[in-house]
């Protein structure tokens, strides 16, 4: 499917009637094991959605299917009403930090410039305006002074900021982030929330995976509770009920502390 590149004027396709992202009875199987079963949900523009569930619930799998990295076994994903087949630059995927070889000999700005590598001539080096754009994105995440630093020297929070800067340069309509709050310091968590708010205000859709219930409640318009199947889907105050959380995370005994708080709040 041909997609206009960001930056150019994009035609508004039926965005008033169709949700931006519609997940339709999606199922993913790895051999005999099913990772996702019959999941349906719809996400609009200017929304932050958190995917919440225990390890192995299929959060990463769902993100990867939307990103076009994994094929769906059943069902499909629609983007602006069109079935999503293969890659579109309007959907930006930010992998889990642990998926990357951080000893790789590249600098911070090199990683950010990877966002543009498919959109520039392969016969020319990156131009000054490309580097300027990368530096501006690094500025937004407070990492400009780290531009020439080798990525192996960064802390977990700094690594996440670099990924975020690269995603900003990719400039899509939909941002998919796998565990952006995991293993990062509090200032970085706050920064990620600020960036989400900026993106949401400019009409973007943000979908991120997390197992931090407090974070999800604080910073999302919609919560998708997932445990291989869809448990619940809607605004935080409607989805975060004791029954739903129990169905997602199992019995009370394994509920994380934050979940327990949410349950207490619900029962008041």
């Amino acid at each position: 499917m041909e997609r206009p590149t960001p930056g150019e004027a994009r035609p508004i396709q039926k965005t008033n009637t169709e949700p931006r992202l519609a997940i339709d009875r999606l199922g993913v199987h790895f051999g005999n094991r099913s990772a996702l079963e019959d999941v349906s949900a719809a996400f609009g523009g200017s929304e932050t959605i958190s995917l919440l569930g225990p390890n192995g619930a299929g959060k990463s799998t769902l993100l990867k299917v939307i990103a076009g990295v994994l094929p769906a076994t059943h069902g499909m994903v629609r983007f602006n009403g069109q079935p999503l087949t293969g890659h579109t630059s309007a959907i930006v995927y930010v992998p889990q930090r642990s998926s990357v070889d951080w000893t790789f000999p590249v600098s911070v700005i090199d990683v950010v410039l990877m966002a543009l590598s498919r959109r520039r001539s392969r016969f020319l080096p990156f131009g000054g305006d490309d580097r300027e754009r990368a530096l501006r994105a690094l500025d937004q995440v407070g990492m400009r002074q780290f531009a020439p630093v080798q990525i192996g020297q960064l802390s977990g929070g700094q690594q996440q900021r670099v990924f975020l800067a690269r995603a900003l340069v990719q400039d899509g309509d939909v941002y998919l982030l796998d565990e952006p709050f995991t293993g990062v310091d509090v200032p970085t968590q706050d920064l990620v929330v600020t960036i989400f708010d900026d993106l949401r205000r400019s009409g973007r859709t943000i979908v991120y995976a997390t197992h931090d219930l407090a974070q999800a409640m604080k910073s999302s318009d919609q919560i998708v509770l997932l445990n291989r199947r869809l448990i619940a889907n809607g605004p935080p105050d409607q989805t975060m009920t004791a029954d739903n959380l129990r169905a997602t995370f199992g019995g009370m005994a394994v509920l994380p502390v934050d979940a327990a708080h949410a349950v207490v709040r619900e029962n008041r």
Binding site: Y93, D110, M114
Partner: protein
Amino acid sequence: MIDWLVDPLQYTFMQHAFIAIVLVGVICGVTGTFVTLRGLAFMGDALSHAIFPGVVIAFVLGGNFLVGAMIAAIVVSLGIGLISQSNRLTNDTAIGVLFAGGFALGIALISAQRTYVRDLSTFLLGSILGVSRSDLMLTGAFGAVVLGTIAIFRRELTIIAFDRTFAQATGINLWAFDQLFLIVLSLAIVVSLQTVGNILVLAMLVTPAATARLLTDRFKVMVALSASIGAVSGVVGLYLSYHLSIASGASVVLVATGIFAIVFLFAPRTGVVTVAISRRLHYAHPERDDFSTEP
């Protein structure tokens, strides 16, 4: 000393040998950067052995051995892709099966020839002193293809080496680029067969790149250093081979290994010995915590 340097250059075969080994050093140095960063050393070893039957068949039939090697390389890389589709077998198992099988086939074919021993040693150890002018042209042409392909697709190859999932999410076709890289790698191996031989090709792919990685955190610098170290090892190795009368392939690889050892021990920031010494110099008496006086 001047004589030591100039003496070998009076022979045409040595001039050819020097040009060939510099080309091989650069080609393998650049390709090897991607091999080491992606952890494909075993794949490189396997390809070099699996190419062997193709070379032998070409030799027996009197065809061009580069063509035979290319066909073998493509068959083997597709075969590895096919076998590793199986859920029960890992990629390196698939590589192991094909690499040993291919090598055995090559030896079986060549052992049926009358000049068995001489031919075998030529293929396995290289025969750098027999590099003709047309061999040089062919090496240069193949080298240009290898380096040109890597230059054109440098960004895709780098992103794939760094983060395969992100590469796929940005629309890079992983399967196509993996096959492309295997073909480039096979070409690099093929052009090295004549100079360093089948068994020692791996060293030219891995050792200069590994040495370069110890010296820098910059990708482009690593590529340039790896190519330079490959070429320098080749030239120094050839001189030693000429003056000490040792096999050229072994001599070149030993020089590369020697450079690696020196860098591993004494590199400015990463050397094992350097780091230990600088720790002693700077923190000889940590309890005093006094940085104003030199130790």
